[in-house]
């Protein structure tokens, strides 16, 4: 196991795992308390359209996925701010169309079929230096925004009508939460893939929510649990030579069951 740590790609994977875990702990908390889980799933699958476009035109994958995810977040924000009651229909629509665009464009790209699975299930062992910069930059941005606008984001998440009465720009912060979710989903795709991204954004968060008295501690604990599950999952994947994304999710789900069992025993 120790000798594995000397490989560059393992070091990159560990670093990427931690960066993405902390980011998804913070943003996952926001997604859960704002009841946006389905919405985040929609963005993740829509992002696949961006991956298809990037592959087809030979652009950097992260860039394509990010731009597409950000655009879909903006569209979803503008729709949900006006027609909240029809939100699920629109998300379902974008979910499927985004996926379809991705599948068709990757089909149309000559000689490019191999990596299809890596986007669905993640490819943390193939993280590049540039990917790490992107992940680190995103985490920096999230921490910056949460430091200076925590109280506004908390107010909008807890009681948006009241926040509006206190002069907080609710549509702006709602859109900001969605944009950060979109970017976090994109980096999380690299780690666990777009099918499993929802689990990474919700399982550690669910455990943290039960143990927290404030949104801040929920974010902190989520980041911690998420990092722990990711590292354990990676070890599991290395030791038994199985897919890393799926290992991370199974470790998380296993921990959730243990946690739920313990909390049942306590009562």
């Amino acid at each position: 196991m120790l000798e594995a740590l000397s490989y560059d790609f393992i070091q990159n994977a560990l670093l990427a795992g931690i960066l993405v875990s902390i980011a998804s702990g913070i943003i996952g908390s926001l997604i859960v308390v704002n009841r946006m889980v389905f919405l985040a799933g929609g963005i993740a699958h829509t992002a696949y359209g961006g991956i298809g476009i990037a592959v087809y035109f030979g652009l950097p994958i992260f860039l394509g996925a990010s731009v597409f995810a950000v655009l879909s977040a903006l569209i979803i924000a503008s729709i949900t701010l006006k027609h909240r009651e029809r939100m699920d229909t629109f998300i379902g629509l974008m979910w499927a169309v985004g996926m379809a665009i991705g599948v068709v464009l990757i089909d149309l790209t000559p000689g490019y079929q191999a990596d299809f699975m890596s986007y669905l299930f993640g490819s943390i062992l193939a993280v590049s230096q540039a990917d790490l910069w992107f992940m680190g930059g995103l985490l920096g941005l999230i921490v910056f925004i949460m430091t200076f606008w925590y109280r506004d984001i908390l107010a909008v998440s807890y009681d948006s009508e009241y926040a509006n009465l206190r002069g907080i720009n609710v549509p702006f912060f709602y859109t900001l939460i969605l944009l950060l979710s979109a970017l976090t989903v994109v980096v999380a795709i690299k780690v666990v893939g777009l099918i499993l991204v929802i689990a990474l954004l919700t399982i550690p968060v669910y455990i943290a929510e039960k143990l927290s008295h404030s949104l801040f501690s929920m974010m902190l604990l989520s980041g911690l649990f998420s990092s722990l599950f990711t590292l354990l999952g990676l070890w599991f994947s290395y030791e038994y030579d199985v897919a890393s994304g799926a290992s991370i999710i199974l470790v998380s789900a296993g921990s959730l069951f243990v946690f739920l069992g313990f909390s049942k025993l306590k009562h």
């Binding site: 109280r151 926040a163 949104l215």
Partner: protein, 241 residues
Amino acid sequence: MPIIEIKNLSFSYEKQTILENINLEVQEKDFLAIIGPNGGGKSTLLKLILGINSVKNGTVLTFGEAPKKNLAKIGYVPQNTNVNTDFPIKVIEVVLMGHIGTKRPLFGYANEEKMCALGALAQVGMEKFAHEKIGSLSGGQRQRVMIARALCAHPQILILDEPTASIDVEGQKQIYELLERLNSHITIIVVSHDISVIMQYANTVVHINKTLSSHDISNLKSEKNDHFCEVELFKKFKEKK
């Protein structure tokens, strides 16, 4: 000068008329109760006073100006404080939300804001619970926290939408006694169903069901010191019409 002045106000939502030709004046230190059936337009009227809905026909003035200009002077306690009780948030954080944010530091909350929030909690007798999770409180306690949040910005008017719905009798009494104390320096507007309870505390009652009818209940109170029947009250409203 009345602190709230409503003239010829009508409001409709997608062709359905909710409020029709409402005229109402609220004076400083009034304790106004708004009663009426569900869907009669009570909450809509509050939203117009608070500037959440915009006025299209007629005028609504708070402190002689458009409602949006005076948000800081009005404290609001919304209906249904039992939603979102899973949210991981401490009592003090909920109260801190009441600040309008003019003295806010670069990040977090200013000490002044924290002291002010604790003061507001003390006013409603909830300071001991400042660091509890909001979901662990009872309905009545949570309602008092919401009142503290509204008091945080030192409002001149306090507006409450069904403050005692789904709270036990003891909790209701505590809340009305609290409102009575606050009324010594704050104008209070309460939307409520509990007609007989509100009678003990309010000095003006208006009934809203699309249109408004008002009645000064001070003589009524002196006639009968204790409990009186709702039917009697509605009779009075009818006579006025």
